[in-house]
Each structure stands twice: as structure tokens, then as C-alpha cells.
């Protein structure tokens, strides 16, 4: 039949019209990339695989606008994306395929969740009609990631991609930030949609912008104005809400000493006369001990983690506690407080500063200095300025601190290397420490250094790693080679899982169960990746070796053979009160 009937003609017309529309339409995979660009993303860390191939295929067309860093393992991509977010203040983005790709992210997601870092995880999923059938590389990543994400969602239709991504960014960066995971089926990546994007600005069930609790802020000011031994405990929340200036102004006006949590380090200058030191298990003596003597505690953007509080029954019982915290679920969770201010740290400080009286607490500050002196003589001096014996972790960190003028971004792994870096680097710039706090993830350091350097290429990035942690993610040396990422790696090698060994020494009658390591030649390994390196073991070589490392234009591995059985002190032993912080083993 050659003649077309009227009906057929209209049908053909509509087919033509549809074809025209479909030319303007783009695939779900491409829509995802455009959404990311709309949100200001320019860097993605990830690893391809079967189910995510349609997204990667489109990524090739956008390589001018989206820089993709191919790590050597999905866990590395997750940590790198987190570190990127921590140094840039923008959310990190991380891609992985379905099944093992997605499950390999879990440690990284949990790490970002516990440390409140916004990372957008995009995982691919098998085609939607195969979900639930145990198909090849199918895993229930929504179920698996539920307890460790701020929010997660599966997308099965391409037209749902823009609104879901918009929601994901809004949730990740507002309120208490955190990781979100979007799982996109392969068919949603390939099917087309009529693309348009608008940012999410409102979710009915989620209110990150709570009205300021002015009544509580006024009561807090009264308490502060009458305090004789007040103490500020500041955490990561200061850095997240960018309240460093307000914290400084508040502390200087009121003359109140400031103690920082591990995640809060660099939120207050280490050299300031009101700086009381690091809190927690391996923190400084002053802030730990005097927490139990303060009459008013002002906790800002911190969550009274058990590593900070020690034994809760013997924690700050004498003090009136003001808790400024954006996450309502953290208030009265571990420590019961007197005044709860469930708002953003910076906004509260801005309101609080005009309400407090100028004051000074010289006698109280002197108590901190007395503690500092005892700690310096017993622990710090022998650690950073030893005159004989093997090299100490503390002196390596101290030397790096001096040679970088405290201006480098410091990345750590977990354990003794981390505690030494936290204790002995003197931070000047806010946000210059990237470490795994809540999770304590060994293997975090190397990939995090990659993410930090990618986010802050103009900064010197120095990673302190242990021989245990390095070997958990050592394959990321491949990423450093591939993308020529000039990170400076300092391997503090003691041939032990040092922190576990320390606990075996102190609490398990020196029974060293599986903590001694037989290690490879790390310099040779680095050489295989075309990364220059040097191994040193004496005090005389230390300074020059660090200068050489810092001056090297590309990446560098400096292996320092340190004291094999060193102990990080002081220590609040597990179950002990912060008052009982120990200076000697």
C-alpha cells in the first residue's frame, strides 16, 4: 500500500516530532554529568566497571569540564573524594560500578559519615528488571549503605536523575554535612530524558536552617559572664561552619582558653596564648585534666566522642555545660548538658559575641601552663628534641612543622603516626589537617593525600603514614604516578602496627599478637612507580632529607626508620577519667 490514510499521516507526523524531541534529549548518563557541572563540580574520583559504562562513555565528552581521577581501588576513590571535600569546602564526588565496586566504597562512605564530610557517591546498578534476581554484579547497595549515609536513593528512570542529584547535593552540604549515595540503574543511564535542572532549596521533612535559639543564647551569655574557670571545647563544626574568626574573636573577648578535638585541629591557631591544646585519649594534659575543673564548658561543634570524654561517669560533673551543635541528635546523647543551642556554630557565635563581657582569666590560664610545663618536660621535649637513641615520630613531625612554617596541609593515616602528627604539627591555617577521626580507618592516608593535593594544588601536602596503613592502600601509588600528583609521603616505619603494639604493651602484658610486620623495600616499590625516595635512620640526616623532599617538584617518599617500640603519651587509658591522664607508661 502506497497511499497513506489521514490517520497514518498524523501518526507519522508525531513520530517525526518525537524524533526531533529525541534529538534534544540526552541520556541519563549525560544528564548526571550535566547536573554535576551545574552544582559546580569539576573533579570526580572513581573507578569504572560494567554497569557504570554508559556514564563513563559520556564522561569522555566532558573531560574538559570534569577531571576524572582514576584511583586503583574504589576505597581509594572514596577517601580521596572526602579529602578533596575537606580541603576545598565543596562536596566531593565519587563514582563506582555496581556490586563489588559499590561495596568497596563502604569503608570510605562510613568514614565520611562519621566525620561529617559531604561526598556524593554515585554507584551504578544492574538494569532495573534484574534487580532482586541476584544478577551478575548486583548488590543491594541501598540496604548496605543505609546506616552509613545521610541519605540514599535508587534511580530507575532517567527523568528522575536531575531532581535526585539536586536533592543529594542539598542534603549533603546543608545542616550537619554527610555522604549521600545515589544508585542509578544501567537502563536509567542509557535511556533518554528531556533535560532540565534546578537546584533543590527545600525539603519538607528536613530543616537545616533552624531559627536561632536567642533565649538559650542569652542564658549562655549570662553563664559565661559569671564563670571563673570557663573552657571552650571546639570541634570540626567550627571548620564546617567556617567560624574560625568568630571563635577567635569570642575567645579573645572573653579570655577563655580553647581546647580542640582531633577533627577540630587547625580551627584555632596552635601558637595562640589562649590555645589550651588537643583533647582526648592522646591529647594534651591541660585540657583533659582541667575539663574536670572548669565551672562552665562551652562545647561548640563537637559531639563528646568517647575518645574525648573518657569515662562518662567521671566527666565534667562539676561543670555547667553549654552545647552549641547543629545536629539535635548529638545533644544530650553522651553528655547531659545544661543549655542546648541547636544551631549553626558561626551564627550562634555571632549572636553570642556582643552579649559577653570582656574578661580575662589569668589564674585559670596559669593552671593550663602548669600542666603544659609538666607535659613538656616529661613527654614533649624527649619526643621532639631527643639527644640520643633512635629517631622519634614526634621529632620528624616537629621538623616538618618548622620547615613548612605550619603552613602545609597535613594528611595522616591512623594510629601512632596520626597521634604524633596531631600532637606535634603546629597548625596555622584552618582546615589544614585531613585525618580519619571517628572511623579511625587505616589506609586512609595515601588516597586522602591524593584528594587533598588535587583539591589544593597550590599547597604543600605532606602525608604521615605508618608502615601498616600504607600497605592497606599502597596501590594508590599508581594513581600518583598516573596523574603525577606531587604529594610528599613520610613513612614513619617502625616495623610494627604501632598503636596496637602500644596497647599490647600496656594492657595485654606485652603479648605482641600479630603486630610485628615483615616489610618490603618501600623505596624500591616507590621506584617501581617512578616516585623518588630516600630511607633515613639517623638524626643527622633528618633535616636535610625533609628539605630535599619538600623541594622536590613531584611526588616523593621519605621513609624514616623510627624507634620500633615507641609509645604515644600522654594517655587517657580506656575506661579512665580525663583527670587521670597519664604522662608515663
Amino acid at each position: 500500500m502506497t497511499q497513506t490514510t489521514g490517520k497514518e499521516a498524523t501518526e507519522m507526523k508525531s513520530v517525526e516530532a518525537e524524533l526531533k524531541i529525541s534529538e534534544q534529549m540526552i541520556t541519563g548518563g549525560e544528564a548526571l554529568l550535566r547536573c554535576l557541572i551545574e552544582e559546580g563540580v569539576d573533579t570526580v574520583f572513581g573507578y569504572p566497571g560494567g554497569a557504570i559504562m554508559p556514564i563513563y562513555d559520556k564522561l569522555l565528552n566532558y573531560k574538559e569540564r570534569l577531571n576524572h581521577i582514576l584511583t586503583r581501588h574504589e576505597q581509594g576513590a572514596a577517601h580521596a573524594a572526602q579529602a578533596y571535600a575537606m580541603v576545598t569546602g565543596k562536596p566531593g564526588v565519587c563514582f563506582a560500578t555496581s556490586g563489588p565496586g559499590a561495596t568497596n566504597l563502604i569503608t570510605g562512605i562510613a568514614n565520611a559519615y562519621l566525620d561529617s564530610v559531604p561526598v556524593i557517591f554515585i554507584t551504578a546498578q544492574v538494569v532495573s528488571n534484574l534487580i532482586g534476581t541476584d544478577a551478575f554484579q548486583e548488590t543491594d547497595i541501598i540496604g548496605i549503605s543505609m546506616p552509613v549515609t545521610k541519605w540514599n536513593c535508587q534511580v530507575k528512570r532517567p527523568e528522575d536523575i536531575p531532581s535526585t542529584i539536586a536533592r543529594a547535593f542539598y542534603i549533603a552540604i546543608t545542616g550537619r554535612p554527610g555522604p549521600v549515595l545515589i544508585d542509578i540503574t544501567k537502563d536509567a543511564q542509557t535511556a533518554k530524558l528531556n533535560y532540565s535542572y534546578s537546584k533543590c532549596t527545600y525539603i519538607r521533612s528536613y530543616n537545616p536552617y533552624k531559627p536561632l535559639k536567642m533565649k538559650e543564647i542569652e542564658s549562655a551569655a549570662i553563664l559565661i559572664n559569671h564563670a571563673e574557670k570557663p573552657l571552650i571545647l571546639a570541634g570540626h563544626g567550627i571548620l564546617i561552619s567556617r567560624a574560625e574568626k568568630e571563635l577567635l574573636e569570642f575567645a579573645e573577648k572573653t579570655g577563655i582558653p580553647v581546647a580542640l578535638t582531633l577533627m577540630g585541629l587547625s580551627a584555632f591557631p596552635s601558637g595562640h596564648r589562649l590555645y589550651a591544646g588537643l583533647l582526648g585519649m592522646h591529647g594534651n594534659v591541660g585540657p583533659n585534666k582541667l575539663t574536670n575543673e572548669a565551672d562552665v564548658i562551652i562545647a561548640i561543634g563537637m559531639r563528646f566522642d568517647d575518645r574525648v570524654t573518657g569515662n562518662l561517669k567521671k566527666y565534667a560533673g562539676q561543670a555547667r555545660i553549654i552545647h552549641i551543635e547543629i545536629d539535635e541528635a548529638e545533644i544530650n546523647k553522651n553528655v547531659n548538658v545544661d543549655i542546648e543551642i541547636n544551631n549553626d556554630a558561626r551564627e550562634v557565635l555571632q549572636q553570642l559575641i556582643p552579649l559577653v563581657n570582656p574578661a580575662s582569666h589569668e589564674r585559670w590560664i596559669r593552671e593550663f601552663r602548669i600542666c603544659d610545663k609538666a607535659e613538656y618536660d616529661t613527654v614533649i621535649k624527649p619526643e621532639i628534641k631527643p639527644e640520643s637513641g633512635p629517631l622519634k615520630m614526634g621529632e620528624v613531625v616537629h621538623t616538618v612543622s618548622e620547615l613548612t612554617n605550619g603552613e602545609a596541609i597535613i594528611v595522616t593515616d591512623v594510629g601512632q603516626n596520626q597521634m604524633s602528627a596531631a600532637r606535634y604539627y603546629r597548625f596555622i591555617n584552618p582546615g589544614s589537617l585531613v585525618t580519619s577521626g571517628g572511623m579511625g580507618t587505616m589506609g586512609f592516608g595515601l588516597p586522602a593525600a591524593i584528594g587533598a593535593k588535587t583539591g589544593a594544588p597550590q599547597k604543600q601536602v605532606v602525608a604521615f603514614l605508618g608502615d601498616g596503613g600504607l600497605q592497606m592502600t599502597i596501590q594508590e601509588l599508581g594513581t600518583i604516578l598516573h596523574f603525577n600528583i606531587p604529594v610528599k609521603i613520610i613513612l614513619l616505619n617502625n616495623f610494627f602496627l604501632g598503636m596496637v603494639r602500644q596497647w599490647q604493651d600496656m594492657f595485654f602484658s606485652k603479648r605482641y599478637a600479630s603486630t610485628e610486620l615483615v616489610n618490603p623495600d618501600f623505596i624500591k616499590i616507590a621506584e617501581g612507580y617512578n616516585i623518588p625516595g630516600k630511607r633515613i635512620s639517623t638524626r643527622e640526616e633528618l633535616k636535610d632529607a625533609i628539605i630535599e623532599m619538600l623541594g622536590c617538584p613531584g611526588p616523593y617518599l621519605l621513609e624514616v626508620l623510627v624507634e620500633k617500640e615507641g609509645t604515644v603519651l600522654p594517655m587517657v587509658e580506656p575506661g579512665a577519667s580525663v583527670s587521670d591522664v597519664k604522662l608515663i607508661k
Binding site: P147, Y202, R204, S205, Y209, K210, E328, A329
Partner: protein, 185 residues
């Protein structure tokens, strides 16, 4: 720690997996769910999950905040048994022969206020609505006659408070919008 019975009324968006997110929080805190019911609330598109749990005053406060933190949870209300009107429903399947002797049926209707849903020559289905204790009392009485099947529902609860959920919803909605507007200025 003194444990009490609490009823949680959790209003949520209709997001897949929300129940899973809630139970994860209870599981981590080692809290057993005594009963659970889910249905659409009086506000269209908003789900209401009613949970009965036994725990301490302090723990229920913490857990309620953690549940409310879930992105798609709109509001959590914690009630003690005095603050709510609640019911559970139970169905019993009994052999007809066993109940025909004496004035058993008459007694069941008069003293337990039961309803007979279905009667066949072989079996009867009896419905009882009330508190758990009343239902269990009836179960104990029926047991000697041979209970073929017994099932009890989760709790459904209505609050005694005067302010209704949609008022909260409107307030929250306004609060989000004004706070956000202020924040942006």
C-alpha cells in the same frame, strides 16, 4: 534502668526503605519492637508508622531524636500509654463444635464484647478489639476449647493532644521557609 512502654508515632514521607532506616536505629540500641503498624495518615501522602517499644525515659528521648534526624522523617511523637487512645485487634479461629455446648457463645458476647465474623459448620472466626491485656485474657479463656488460629495486630493509636499533626506540618513548613529566607539574607 526503669523500662516503660512508649508509643512512637512517626510521620514520614512515602520513601522506600524508611521503615528499614527506623529499625536500624532501634536495632543498634537493642530495643525490641513490641508491635508495629503502618498506614497513610490523615494528611495525604504522609505515612504514619506506630511503634510500641519498651525502654527507659532517657533512651526514648535519644532514639526519637535519631529517628527524627532521618531525612524523610517529618516528625516523631513519643507517648506514654496515658497520653493516647489505642486499640489492637485479634482474630480467633475456633472449631464450631467446641463452642456449641452450654452458654459459651452468650458469655463471649456479653463479657468480652466479641464479634463473630464468619460461622461455618466446621469453624467460627471471632474478632476482639481492645488492649493487649484484654485480648490475652480472652485467649486464655478460649484455649481450653482448642484455638485453631490466633493473630493479633499491631497497635493503632490516636493522641489525646489537642494540636493535630497537620498544624505541626504547617508550622514546620513555615519555619523552614522563614528560617531559610533569613539565612539567605
Amino acid at each position: 534502668m526503669l523500662k516503660k512502654e512508649f508509643t512512637l508515632s512517626i510521620f514520614t514521607e512515602d520513601h522506600i526503605g524508611i521503615l528499614n532506616q527506623i529499625t536500624i536505629i532501634l536495632t543498634r540500641r537493642q530495643i525490641n519492637i513490641e508491635s508495629i503498624t503502618a498506614s497513610e495518615s490523615a494528611v495525604k501522602g504522609v505515612q504514619l508508622i506506630t511503634l510500641a517499644v519498651k525502654t527507659s525515659d532517657e533512651m526514648i528521648r535519644k532514639v526519637a531524636r535519631q529517628i527524627e534526624k532521618i531525612i524523610d522523617v517529618i516528625k516523631v511523637f513519643v507517648h506514654t500509654s496515658e497520653e493516647i487512645v489505642y486499640q489492637e485487634i485479634a482474630l480467633f479461629k475456633m472449631s464450631t463444635k467446641s463452642l456449641l455446648s452450654g452458654n459459651t457463645v452468650d458469655h463471649l458476647v456479653r463479657s468480652h464484647n466479641v464479634r463473630f465474623i464468619e460461622i461455618t459448620p466446621e469453624y467460627m472466626v471471632i474478632e476482639k478489639t481492645g488492649h493487649k491485656s484484654e485480648i490475652v485474657r480472652l485467649l486464655n479463656e478460649l484455649e481450653p476449647f482448642g484455638v485453631l488460629q490466633y493473630v493479633r495486630s499491631g497497635r493503632v493509636a490516636i493522641t489525646r493532644q489537642v494540636k493535630e499533626f497537620h498544624a505541626y506540618l504547617m508550622e514546620m513548613d513555615n519555619a523552614v521557609r522563614t528560617a531559610k529566607a533569613e539565612y539567605e539574607i
